[in-house]
């Protein structure tokens, strides 16, 4: 009922922020290499926001005190604005330092060799909840009306009935008849694939590129196939089974 003009507004926006992928726990090495980088391109790195990626580090079993790391990076002249791939303790340290926790974006895992990789997007998701990406295995038939969502790969040993829907952020394997809807790479992973023993799907989709049953040529139906994206086009290819 107030006549006060609208004082604020929420909008969704995407930023490009450098991600710092660490592969050593040696703080001296990190500091040295960071200083070298900043020296190479001070315009770019000075006061730049930065997301810390600890995935590689934790995978290798190294430990890292986030508060020490953050202090070091601030000394070099950059502003840590997020952390991802950390363990529970590291995430908690980050939140204590008022640094948001992001989840791992699968689209760029392949580029993790580079020391600094630009992030495509850094949308904040639920803080402190780290996704444990693993394979989901299902041995029971997926019936009409059922919906399965896998955060990683999805492997199904039984049939997927017409009217059922299976979704995975990664690949989908169906070692039986696929008669329902199958959507792989639902968070945008264009390298995701669908594999099935008997293609009779109502809909197949990889990273949002889909085909409905009507578009499925009889040549590819009712046989083992794999489905993947190539130049934004869905390719359905026979799988040769050797007996």
């Amino acid at each position: 009922m107030s006549n006060t003009p609208l004082g604020l507004e929420f909008k969704s926006s995407t930023f490009s922020v450098p991600v710092l992928i660490l592969s050593t726990e040696n703080l001296d090495v990190i500091q040295q290499q960071l200083q070298d980088k900043v020296k190479q391109a001070p315009e770019f790195f000075k006061s730049s926001p930065l997301v810390l990626d600890l995935q590689e580090l934790n995978k290798s079993g190294y430990s890292m005190d986030v508060s020490v790391l953050v202090r070091l990076i601030r000394r070099v002249g950059m502003f840590p604005v997020g952390i991802r791939g950390g363990n529970v303790q590291q995430n908690k340290q980050a939140v204590d330092l008022l640094i948001p926790v992001y989840s791992i974006d699968h689209r760029e895992v392949s580029s993790s060799k580079k020391e600094v990789a630009p992030a495509e997007s850094a949308k904040p998701k639920e803080p402190l909840k780290v996704k444990q990406v693993s394979t989901t295995l299902i041995t029971q038939p997926i019936r009409s009306g059922q919906r399965i969502y896998a955060e990683g790969d999805l492997v199904i040993l039984a049939q997927v009935s017409a009217g059922a829907e299976i979704l995975a952020e990664g690949n989908i394997h169906v070692y039986n008849s696929l008669r329902g809807r199958a959507l792989a790479g639902v968070q945008g992973d264009e390298s995701a694939r669908i594999f099935c023993f008997d293609l009779a799907a109502e809909l197949i989709s990889v990273a949002g590129n889909y085909k409905v049953s009507e578009d499925l040529n009889h040549v590819v139906r009712n046989k083992p196939v794999q489905i993947y994206l190539q130049d934004q086009a869905l390719i359905i290819k026979d799988i040769e089974l050797h007996h």
Partner: protein, 268 residues
């Protein structure tokens, strides 16, 4: 140990009530004390098929609401004294069913009965959900046509995810397929799905095939479960089903076209 059997399908008009009446009668005739419950509150039919519609005083909802005791509401069948019917209310709707109330009635029945057959209403709403929720075994009744098969598939999904056994992580409900209104002639003409087609879609253990038969309609009209018509093919088919459910090994008799079989045999 008593077993709760739900007779369900998703789709209407496929023969759930006929099947409930027939197998309840079959189990009782084999010497097992059996109760059959009509879950189709508001559209009660079981009492008609069982021929006890004129003896209904209290119903399932009265028992749930504590307005009558279970013994007051149970109707003893006039053909078999081991069979009891718990009719549905015709004047109430399915909202009158509560999970807690249904559970209490079933617990009480378990103390006295070997088998409790729950005749599910069509659909996947409250009545159908509560009919299957407490089940140990499920008889999924399907007609050999695509929409019925699809609905059965949906129901199988609910059985494996929304039942008490699923929610409490117990051994899953045992599911059996009953194919009703089957006509081998029409399968041959390509007008109907075959047993193999249906099993391919549902991948479910086939308990039996009930042939399309006039005797089913006659039985319904006369208020006698069709299993009592021992001369009819449908009656025999239900008898086989009950025997198979109880562990007997009986060959399937009604999948093949009999006329065709003899024609083939004599080269006609």
């Amino acid at each position: 140990m008593s077993r709760i059997i739900v007779v369900t399908s998703g789709k209407g008009g496929v023969g759930k009530t006929t099947t409930s009446a027939a197998i309840a009668m079959g189990l009782a005739k084999k010497g097992h004390k059996t109760a059959v419950i009509d879950f189709d509150v508001g559209l009660r039919n079981l009492d008609l098929i069982m021929g006890c519609e004129r003896r209904v005083v209290y119903d399932f909802i009265n028992v749930i609401n504590g307005e009558a005791t279970l013994n007051q509401a149970l109707i003893r069948d006039k053909n078999c004294n081991l069979l009891y019917i718990l009719p549905a209310s015709q004047t109430r709707d399915k909202d009158a069913l509560s999970q807690e109330g249904v559970g209490k009635v079933l617990d009480e029945l378990r103390k006295e009965f070997k088998y409790i057959v729950c005749d599910s209403p069509a659909g996947i709403e409250r009545g159908a959900h509560l009919a299957m929720y407490f089940a140990d075994d499920a008889f999924v009744v399907t007609n050999p046509e695509v929409s019925s098969v699809r609905d059965s598939d949906r129901m199988l999904g609910l059985l494996s995810s929304k039942s008490r056994r699923a929610e409490q992580n117990e051994e899953p409900i045992k599911e059996f397929l009953l194919l009703t209104r089957y006509s081998p002639e029409r399968v041959k003409l390509g007008e109907m799905l075959s047993v193999d087609d249906v099993q391919d879609i549902l991948s479910l253990h086939l308990l039996g095939v009930i042939p399309e038969s006039k005797s089913v309609l006659n039985a319904s009209n006369s208020g006698m479960p069709v299993i009592l018509d021992e001369k009819s093919d449908a009656g025999q088919a239900y008898d086989d089903i009950v025997a198979r459910y109880l562990g007997e090994d009986r060959p399937h008799r009604f999948i093949e076209d009999k006329k065709g079989f003899f024609r083939n045999l004599f080269g006609g």
